[in-house]
Homo-oligomer: 197 residues x 2
């Protein structure tokens, strides 16, 4: 059907999350139709990003600078550290605009099944940051999954000797959520953590 | 949140069909995580494809050669021409592997609402191909939509003076389809075009 160059483009696009073989074909055709408006800018941007974006050596965030814009921002509270699983989680918190401290990206969660141990995550650098002093509080913001909670417990144990205060995100009813659609675990957690009105 | 380079990548990815802002972010992170395996090859392939792939001057197919591989294949029946709306439709027919003639890509359908007239489609070049002689049959394979059928009628009228035999794809029950889930129009067409068993 299509030539080998187009086939290769389709195969690469199909490896993006959210795109299958069929939607990758549609995307490739769309790119070819809009060469100047989309294909060429995308090729140039990918090359730029590939060359200039690297993981921050302090927190693991992705940025063109090292340390990243967040780590080197003097207006952010250096005493408050939020531990997240991935850069996507860091972006989610930044989008919400509710946190003015700094981050530490673990790069995954502990998972015996997938063979991910502590050495595969950025845990040692987190311990070093806590031992270096200057931290008031470490907020553990791993996901509320089994792996996320396991990782949170492991990090809490490792951080304990440093004496830094350790907190985690609250569990409960999501804002706008209806009780009827919530699972038992969330309802139980929300009830247990009830607060005076 | 992310730097301007990454934001630009996300915005470009979000313009691909099938990707929204959220999945474009996931795709961008996935690309950044797999720089050598995915990001760099994709950037190089996009550049290659952008430079080398053009529309075939005979049929409108996309290929690195002009005339395209299908138009210049001597094993394909030059007397049989299949008229399709888009390159995606051409690819679909090629994937099915059921057609051994050549193609003509219209590049869309007539649409008064969208302001697409005959001059915006590759109709004149189709008429020229029919008048040049050597064609036994033109199969009109536009989609079974209102626009597709309107376009089919228009092309049939324009092709009539050339004296070439004009056919269209059969309408009916799709293979593997269940009657209960079919619309009335398809069922009516299938009944009207019934054939001896």
């Amino acid at each position: 059907m299509a030539g080998p160059e187009i086939e290769r483009l389709i195969q690469l696009l199909a490896r993006l999350p959210g795109l299958g073989p069929r939607s990758a074909r549609r995307a490739a055709l769309h790119l070819l139709k809009k060469k100047d408006a989309l294909l060429n800018p995308l090729a140039a941007t990918l090359r730029d990003v590939g060359e200039s974006v690297h993981a921050c050596s302090v927190c693991g965030n992705l940025d063109t600078h090292d340390p990243c814009a967040i780590c080197s921002d003097p207006r952010r509270d250096a005493g408050l550290l939020c531990v997240v699983e991935s850069v996507a989680d860091l972006w989610a918190l930044e989008r919400a605009g509710v946190f003015r401290g700094r981050y530490h990206v673990l790069g995954g969660t502990l998972s015996a099944l997938d063979g991910v141990g502590p050495a595969d995550l950025n845990v040692d650098s987190l311990i070093s940051r806590a031992q270096a002093g200057g931290l008031r509080e470490v907020i553990i913001a791993t996901n509320a999954t089994v792996e996320g909670q396991t990782t949170a417990h492991y990090i809490t144990d490792r951080l304990a000797p440093s004496g830094v205060q350790i907190t985690r995100l609250a569990h409960g009813v999501p804002v706008g959520g209806e009780l009827d659609y919530l699972d038992d675990g969330t309802l139980g957690a929300a009830l247990k953590a009830r607060r005076p009105l």
